[in-house]
Amino acid sequence: MSLTQNCDIYVAIKDEGINRTIQLIMQQRPSLFNYGTNDLNSHPSIVCNPIDAHGSVRAAGNPLLTPIKPVPVVGSSPNSFIPACFQINDFKIDFYKNDQFTMPQEISLNNQQLAVYTKISVGLGCPTPDELRSFLESIKIYKRIPDFRREIFIPTRNLNCFSLEFFATTSMKLGPSLAKLSLEDFEIKDLTPTEMENMIECYVMLVAKLMLPQIEDMLLKEMVKTRKLPDPPDPSGPEINIKISPSAQVPNNPASEDDQLKLFLNIDYLTMAYTISQLSGSGPKPITKIEKPRIRTGPSDMTVAISEDGFKKIFQAAIQGIKFSFEDTIGSTFTIHYKIVGKLKGGSINFENNYMEIKELDIFWETFKITFGVDVPTIPIIPSGCLDIPFDGTVCSPGYSLFTKNPDLSIPIDVSGFTSEVTVFRANLKTWYTTYAGGINKWEFHLDPLLPIQIDFVDLADTIADKLEDFLDNVINILSIPSWAKAAVDAAKDLIIDTIRAALDIPSDILAWVQTLLVDVLDLNDNIWKWIKDFFDVQVALFAFEDPLTVLPETDKFTHIPALKDLYDPVAINQTINPPLVPVKLPIEYIGIEINNNELIVKADIGATI
């Protein structure tokens, strides 16, 4: 059974992959999970649970805790505070069946549910007797200062801590106009007295019941939106307008089963606008490229499948939205300036085992202008002459020449408005793992054309040949140099013709020459096949990203979570972090693409370490 039997797009994520990702983020951006008074950033080893920070974070000297306010000592004078910390030590997700963490007896994970596990630690400063004595001595001094109003921080390296483990089970239902979230059960492990546990659990359930409808509303609003991608817009890439909605054709959407969360989506609306203006990849070439094998077994961390029908929607959007526009001048003495604007029309796409086939695709050449230019050598007609004028110096007259511009001759040929048919185009998709200079690794998706492409350039060569022949027949008349100037420019006239012929290397058979030109210079004949294969398979990736993939960029500011805004230390939270927090990167261990009769499937695994 195909993955996309009841939808256009199938997305499945595996709990183990999500948990590996969370672990990697925790290691590389510990301040997202650890909160403490700013003094603890100088002594992070005294917090409740050791922070497992990545080597790059420690090497950069990044703060491990997001600064929060200290806890006031009630009734103290002057106002005194003690350090505190709050840590999320562990956070895991489990899709049915339960295999990512052990659940307490009071709660269970049922079919189509997902479970969340969180372990937190809370610590509060407790000065040792020596620390307290020393502090009280200093208080006496402060009290002698009239109107002393400063807030005093009680320095201590002793924190008393406790930990709590939370378990929750939830369920979710999505449809074209449905978003339903439920907190099924909530359990705090081993909290006593039992009455307090009951009280907290009841409160959490109450909060969930009141908060979830708001989240459902937000989800619904987001689902019916037509999105503009990419966000933020990238002028060099395609602009995509897309509306995707959950499929109603499956009993459980999303389905929480087989340790995966499976989403079934349909493409409701899709448009694309993209002008391709680069003929060949001009960027650096990889030093090595390999097809990296998968090392894990079982379902991938992420699986995305696009059905043949779904891909047809994408293909049609691409046909309507993609335009190519090339303009350049090549050569020096003999130049060819070309301006080519093409649009795609028609065409159908089908999936076969291991390739996709595009048939009856037309390319409409909206603009097809080629201007041949020749820089004829400058021919002096009137020489410069200098005259010595006694006592006054020398004065020189200017010389005058023919063919002082470049190009001196230009032959514009405009054959705009014809249509070429791409008879059959077959291609597979490949993923390459490439290494570039400087040790940069990338995952690259390439189109791998399989059959020689046949583009029918209807009579293009004949048209250009006719126009050039016409020009050469008339070149003598076109020059129309007066006979009285013949003596002066006779040599020049011969030179003009010779130069044009030499520069263009025009043989007697103009048509053959044009065909050669199209192959050698513009690659518009049979050699276009080699060029297309090289272009897609080697030079231009359909999509590429660096490995490891940056998911959170470098930043010199702490992340502000609105829900925690009252906890943050108002001064320390806004300070510039120097050096900045290192970026969070995910190692992409494997990506594979396959095409079968029904769908295109992309599978990816996240690595365990970075």
């Binding site: 009137i382 200017p398 511009k405 006979s483």
Partner: protein
């Protein structure tokens, strides 16, 4: 028929008449700067100011002569030129059918006119290159002097520049030149001068090829 864009410099073959009020193809104007200083030079076409350039004249300047193509001046952003004192500064047009008038005055005051193409003065030079064979009447309109220039077809002799001094009258009443040779009219009087060269002898013109 295929359209052909052909930059032949056709103006060279269509030029028949010359007027020292202007700089255009095959005719140039040269002025000798005697006094050191900074000068402002305006270039006009049909009384429309096209460009202003600055000319610094001084003994320390190395340039002994400076011939500027007005086409280049108009294309370039560069607008400052140097000349060594007592040397000639010239203007010409390399191709095209445009004609330009020139006026140069001291940068200190617009009243101190140094050169005006409409009134050539002592030591100014008007250079004319002849490409079309035939007879030409030369007139100095402001002093009512006339002479004849007879241009013979090119015969592969070496081309040499010729000069005519322009006093109250022209130095000679008649001069023979070969096609493509240049004639320097050197003003040597205290009056205003305007030299006009007009092609007259259609009879000796061989027929143009079609």
């Amino acid at each position: 028929m295929t359209t052909l864009n052909f930059n032949l410099n056709r103006s060279l073959f269509e030029k028949k008449d010359y007027d020292s009020k202007f700089v255009s193809v095959l005719q140039s104007l040269h002025h000798r700067f005697v006094n050191e200083g900074h000068y402002t030079c305006n270039i006009y076409n049909r009384n429309r100011l096209l460009k202003t350039i600055n000319i610094s004249v001084g003994k320390e300047n190395k340039a002994l002569t400076n011939n500027l193509d007005i086409n280049e001046i108009l294309r370039n952003r560069y607008d400052h030129y140097n000349l060594s004192t007592n040397n000639y500064f010239g203007f010409y047009v390399s191709d095209g059918f445009m004609q330009y008038s020139i006026s140069i005055y001291s940068s200190k005051s617009k009243q101190e006119i140094e050169f005006d193409s409409s009134n050539l003065r002592m030591n100014d030079i008007f250079c004319v290159s002849f490409i079309k064979p035939g007879k030409y009447i030369v007139e100095n309109r402001l002093v009512s002097a006339r002479m004849l220039v007879e241009v013979f077809p090119f015969d592969k002799r070496s081309v040499r520049p010729k000069k005519i001094e322009v006093k109250d009258k022209f130095e000679s009443e008649r001069i023979e030149l070969m096609q493509t040779e240049t004639l320097f009219f050197i003003v040597n009087n205290e009056k205003n001068n305007q030299i006009v060269v007009r092609y007259t002898d259609e009879q000796s013109d061989t027929k143009d090829s079609k």
